[in-house]
């Protein structure tokens, strides 16, 4: 494994001292000394990360979680406050759109510059320049200054450069998000193809589906710390959990929410317990029924329940907003229990599925999340079907009647 190691980061910390005057920063850098805690603004906390050959690593995290800073440090653009990064091989970095482009140079000159920054000789660049131009596909703009480009065109050029410099590791920071659908498809195709050829990628994206589809490993950053590293599917779930929890926070912050201490920030005045799945034969079709119990730990106002089912790629097959169907429990006393049943038609095709549910307290027109059970239960659908995919749409094929004469 160690021979496959491309990049190894140990104990990376990054602290900005944003409130410090530049001169104070300078004095601190020159002569050391203590910085008051109030001035310190930690962006990354003690991150360890190894990347090996052939991996496609996706980093997920909310805005401000430290994704770009981490990429900057890994790509040797930003120096960490403490910690070591060892790099074994050429690393192409696309931070933001422009990858250090000079807006007064033409696309062609910037391509040369980019390759030169990545350590390619003029000759090597000469051999690649046509491929770069073709892939970027920006036509005559290739010979016009970058300042005339749209952001999409810049992204095209940057991506095209990055994939043509023969880097062992390509680091891409949300560059793809600005391209149009065609270009994104082209990039994903290219990433897929290069992945098969053994290229290593490190991607940052807000797009969970992209991470779920492309990456072999997912990392979740939250508040500057690495809180998950492993299976992409689980990484996506973890990311969604953070987002849901924080959504409750930000919507109601300061007004209603009294935070509970502990890992989860949800108040959990009402919790969902005893989730179980059974199959039942209703009048017409077979249905799956998920039974659960709501338990009130304090007196709460009206509550409603959402639930949904995902497949193993994290794609939501179907989700229901209980409130919109008119499902409201008008209030629960402390200690009161209510049994509920959530049901769905058995149209799922073979595969593994995950069940998630949330319970909300309704305060005015705001839904305040009370409990979230992400992937509370998983079940496997086993059957012999000619159809594949997620859902049984009752597909069939036959000869058209018009042929019969």
């Amino acid at each position: 494994m160690s021979s496959d190691l491309l990049l190894s980061a140990k104990g990376i910390n990054k602290t900005y001292s944003s409130s410090m005057h530049p001169i104070a920063t300078l004095r601190h850098a020159l002569f050391g000394g203590k910085v008051s805690k109030r001035d310190e603004y930690p962006v990354l906390k003690n991150i360890d990360l190894d990347i090996c050959h052939g991996e496609t690593v996706g980093i997920l995290g909310r805005n401000g979680a430290g994704k770009t800073t981490l990429l900057g440090i890994l790509g040797n653009v930003i120096q960490p406050t403490s910690g070591r990064v060892e790099r074994y091989g050429r690393i192409a970095t696309l931070l933001g759109l422009t990858a250090g482009f000079n807006v007064n140079f033409t696309g062609r000159e910037n391509a040369y510059l980019f390759c030169s920054i990545q350590g390619l000789t003029r000759n090597e660049t000469d051999q690649r320049i046509d491929a770069i131009s073709d892939f970027a596909d920006i036509g005559r703009y290739f010979d016009l200054p970058i300042r005339t480009y749209s952001s999409g065109m810049q992204a095209r050029l940057a991506f095209s450069c990055a994939v043509h410099v023969d880097a062992e590791l390509i680091i891409i920071d949300e560059t793809l998000a600005v391209g149009d659908a065609n270009f994104r498809m082209k990039c994903y195709d290219r990433i897929g193809q290069m992945k098969r050829e053994g290229q290593t990628f490190l991607l940052v994206s807000h797009n969970q589906n992209m991470v779920a589809n492309f990456c072999t490993r997912g990392i979740v950053l939250e508040g500057g710390a690495k809180i998950f590293d492993g299976n992409t599917m689980e990484a996506v779930e973890e990311y969604k959990r953070i987002r849901t929890e924080s959504m409750g926070d930000s919507e109601l912050e300061g007004k209603l929410l009294k935070r509970n201490d502990g890992k989860s920030k949800l108040p959990k005045d009402v919790v969902i317990r005893d989730i179980e799945l059974e199959e039942r034969q209703e009048t017409e079709e077979e249905v799956g029924v998920i039974s659960a119990t709501l338990v009130a730990r304090r007196d709460v106002g009206p509550v409603s329940v959402n639930f949904g089912i995902r497949n193993q790629h994290g794609i939501v097959v179907c989700a229901l907003d209980g409130l919109q169907t008119g499902f409201i429990i008008s209030g629960l006393k402390k200690g009161e229990r209510k049994n509920i049943e959530m049901q769905f038609s058995k149209r799922l095709l073979p595969g593994k599925y995950y069940f998630s549910t949330t319970v909300h307290e309704l305060i005015g027109d705001v839904k305040k999340p009370q409990d979230l059970r992400q992937n509370a239960m998983s079940f496997e659908v086993l059957c012999d079907s000619a159809m594949s995919g997620i859902a049984d749409l009752g597909m069939g094929v036959k000869l058209a009647e018009a042929n019969s004469e």
């Binding site: 020159l30 930003i78 931070l95």
Partner: protein
């Protein structure tokens, strides 16, 4: 391994320097001609004002009887150095801020930007030097001994420039006042340095004070080598050389301390 790290970065620095020059002259009609035109025009203007109107001229004391060497050549040596230093100082203080995209987006060490800037200024300096040498040859003042001392003085100047610019690029992003203060200082130094007049024009007791000005240490020995073919004071050359080396190490220390936090403040 060390070498593998440095060679591509040296090439990159040269590449960046050439691109900077290219972008500067590409958008102009006369293009690279400006490299020659700027020093020549300034030379013309100052020669008319100081040489003709004020009648300043240099005397050669090599032989016992003093002989006039005119104004333009000795002045040109000083002017070339002044222009180069002023370009270097002005570009260095704001270097990391003006190259922000490279500082925060590109994966190469910061010293490459400093070095590229030094090369760019060096190219301007080399062009001016060629003009000076050309003029010296035309006026038949260029000698072999002079050439040897010229070479030594140029080495000294290069070390001083490297140290000065490294110090300024390191401090510039943190102290906004530097660029303004230095600009003002340069204005003063143009007249406080024996550029438009010979050092001998200054009264004896003040002459020693003039040597505290680094520009004097660059202009006077180089002029004496190119125009008069003699080293001048070897002690002065040696002490300037030593100070330049000390300056460089000081600058290197400062740079290695601040390079980690530069990207936080630009």
């Amino acid at each position: 391994m060390k070498l593998k790290f440095f060679t591509p970065n040296f090439k990159l620095a040269i590449d960046l320097a050439l691109r900077d020059l290219e972008i500067k002259y590409k958008r102009s009609f006369l293009g690279w001609l400006w490299l020659l035109l700027t020093p020549l025009c300034l030379l013309g203007i100052y020669t008319i004002i100081f040489g003709k109107v004020f009648g300043i001229e240099w005397q050669s004391h090599v032989t016992n009887k003093s002989e006039s060497v005119g104004f333009s050549l000795p002045f040109f040596v000083g002017l070339a150095i002044y222009l180069m230093i002023s370009d270097l100082v002005n570009s260095s203080t704001s270097l990391f801020v003006s190259k922000r995209t490279y500082v925060v987006k590109s994966p190469f060490p910061l010293w490459v930007l400093w070095f590229a800037n030094l090369i760019r200024v060096g190219v301007h300096g080399a062009v001016a030097l060629l003009l000076v040498i050309g003029l010296a040859i035309i006026q038949q003042r260029f000698t072999l001994t002079g050439a040897v001392w010229m070479f030594i003085n140029i080495l000294n100047i290069a070390v001083f420039m490297a140290g000065l610019s490294l110090l300024l690029v390191s401090l510039g992003p943190f102290i906004g006042d530097i660029s303004e203060a230095i600009r003002l200082l340069l204005r003063v130094l143009f007249y406080a340095t024996p550029i438009t007049y010979p050092l001998s024009l200054i009264d004896e007791p003040f002459q020693e004070w003039m040597w505290l000005n680094p520009l004097t240490n660059m202009v006077v020995p180089l002029r004496s080598a190119i125009v008069f073919g003699v080293p001048g004071s070897i002690w002065k050359i040696a002490s300037f050389s030593l100070s330049s080396i000390v300056l460089f190490f000081l600058a290197y220390w400062v740079f290695s301390r601040v390079k980690g936090v530069v990207s936080d403040v630009v």
